[in-house]
Symmetry: C2
DNA sequence: ATAGTTTTTGAAATCGCTTTCTTGAAAATT
DNA sequence: AATTTTCAAGAAAGCGATTTCAAAAACTAT
């Protein structure tokens, strides 16, 4: 015979526990939720019976009664991207330690799906929604999406990682300007002056800010901005890095250092540089963003900007939870500070040394 | 003022719809579930009102009444591993198209957490559980875990990707033997004979089977098995590949081809080979498993065994759903057939050419 | 037109928990 | 010792769907 599924296996409820412990269901509920005092005698009795049967309160009933699911929805483009995977794991871990669980939806770059899944998360009755990237990270907010998010916010708090004009979303962001500052300081300290920047879309807030800061840093140092060294216009993957870097070589740009918008793009850059017969960091220094395992796995190991995913996830989740609990001390915008992890891919500028 | 949260925003229910449409709640339920006939007049009226308010039935109430959550739990080691990420996305997509959603838990290599999360999934009242890897993939099943899974199976169907002796779990597996056969055939056709195998743990079923087949193929071709060319004993990450490959070089093994247990390990192998001043595929051919984006991104691009994640995910999810629906035509073991994607990292054996 | 069927429909019970309201007992106050 | 205050614990009313059961309505057949 199969296992004892169904039939006699009638799920055990709070009433069963109550009967066996000789108390009322209300009392059982009280020890379960720990929201009211129960005399230690009865409490012990109840706990004992609960353990005896390994009783777990029914989530549906609980959710129905409390109108809370203890779930946070996370909507992102694609967990297969290690950056997002890291963010998810960080959120999951943070959420679990607060008694929440996480529902993950990937829209896989499909704009329509993104909106549909937002709706779906609402169906799931999540208590809050975290929007990682996607529309909520674009420089010019998509009107339709803003409307959808506003609808959502009528019932469910939303936390984003970028910005979404026309909404009152709370935000936990990486300090993108600062992250570029770190990179530029590092490169300047290595005497680099011909610095290229590769990958990413200018209509994404964080990228926009990085490029802004990049130009600003150059100017501050009295260096001119060479448009031939700016290869934004792709995406965040391998081929963007590869193609944009090829483009820079083609235009005759001769950078001594390259900033890749993320580790993915950096890999593309590596390939392009190698195909042009140059070495890293011998001929060209490479620095990237995100510091996923890809940075450590690349050859050479990449100097990369680290976001401290654990902290980022915690900040995101704790903001969400405070919003759920109507804690009005929540700051509307929180920043996560980046740090630079220096590895093998960056070195002193050769051109300068030769002088 | 903030958005209209709370207060007057009293969630709209099936009763509200019923009142406005001039029917009973039962009728609304009937059009919602589509499980009983409703006269087209009333149906239209109800649908109209539902759309007017964009009404979504409360999941908790529905779950409570139906004792079904329409959720599938997925337990895995770590989505940050691209292989698992691909599996998850495949499952998510397959599940969505069947009206299910997926809850993902990562135990991050923590054995105790693995068991705890299994319990937690049960709390979530998922309708079925998919165990990707972990204990349910080990050669010698962990007794304690088997017991835990058996407890789970009393209420919830479980689908695994490996094996778990002492349980009646349904299985959807990759044909590991066949996958090694593909690789060996490929290598033999390129005239390789000194073939190393690197990475992975022998106590993991799929790895065990691969190594078994590896030896078998060698013998069938009249070649001897050289233990110095077998570098299993690590894990599935970069450093395992790197260290095991270094070990092979140290022992004086001079393979003309290397099989890496996954793309991750392959990356380590690449580094080791390069550090030894050798070229791929010039001096050594490299073939790996999983065919994640890492295979396509590596330098050189890796020949890798592809599992067709989409199909795999579909098989996993459809098995789970049929189990949920007590469809007893479900085969206990299903196989997913692998295929070999040949890229830049494999080439004709030089040693042989020289002759 | 009438009796017999088949469909539609609504009332009410149910799913399992939380919570308000009430009561009775215990503790504190005078 | 009498009275007020505090507190533990039970009864019962939700929470918002589904579903059974029985009545009403709509057809069929005679």
């Amino acid at each position: 015979m199969q296992s004892k599924r169904g039939s006699e296996n009638k799920a055990i409820t709070i009433y069963d526990i109550a009967r066996e412990a000789g108390v009322s269901p209300a009392t059982v509920s009280r020890v379960l939720t720990n929201r009211a005092r129960v005399s230690s005698g009865k409490r012990d009795r109840v706990v004992e019976v609960i353990e005896k049967y390994n009783f777990k309160p029914n989530t549906f009933a609980k959710g129905l009664a409390e109108t809370k699911s203890k779930k946070i929805g996370v909507l992102m483009a694609d967990v297969r991207n290690p950056y997002y995977a890291s963010m998810f794991v960080a959120c999951e871990t943070a959420a679990r330690s607060e008694g929440y669980s996480v529902i993950l939806y990937n829209f896989l770059g499909d704009v329509e799906l993104e909106e549909e899944l937002l709706e779906r998360l609402l169906d799931e009755r999540v208590d809050a929604i975290i929007l990682l990237g996607g529309h909520a990270d674009e420089l010019v907010s998509n009107m339709e999406y803003v409307e959808a998010v506003n609808d959502v916010m009528a019932t469910t708090p939303v936390v984003i990682t970028g910005k979404l004009d026309g909404t009152q979303c709370n935000t936990v962001r990486i300090n993108a300007m600062r992250s570029m500052e770190l990179v530029m300081e590092h490169l300047f300290s290595l005497r680099h002056e011909k610095i290229a920047i590769v990958g990413g879309r200018m209509d994404v807030l964080s990228t926009y800010e990085k490029v802004l800061k990049y130009k600003q840093c150059l100017k501050e140092r009295g260096l001119e901005v060479n448009p031939d060294l700016i290869g934004n216009g792709g995406k965040y993957d391998f081929s963007s890095g590869y193609e944009q870097m090829n483009g820079i070589f083609q235009k005759g740009g001769e950078p001594t250092a390259v900033i890749a918008i993320n580790d993915f793009a950096a890999w593309g850059v590596i390939r392009s540089i190698h195909e042009h017969g140059l070495a890293i960091p011998g001929d060209i220094t490479l620095v990237s963003y995100d510091d996923t395992y890809m940075a450590e796995t690349a050859e050479p190991k990449l100097t990369s900007v680290n976001y401290n995913y654990e902290e980022y996830g915690k900040a995101l989740v704790s903001t969400a939870i405070r919003l759920i609990e109507k804690d009005d001390s929540v700051p509307r915008v929180r920043m996560v500070e980046p740090s630079l992890v220096v590895r093998e891919s960056s070195a002193m500028c050769r051109d300068r040394e030769k002088r």
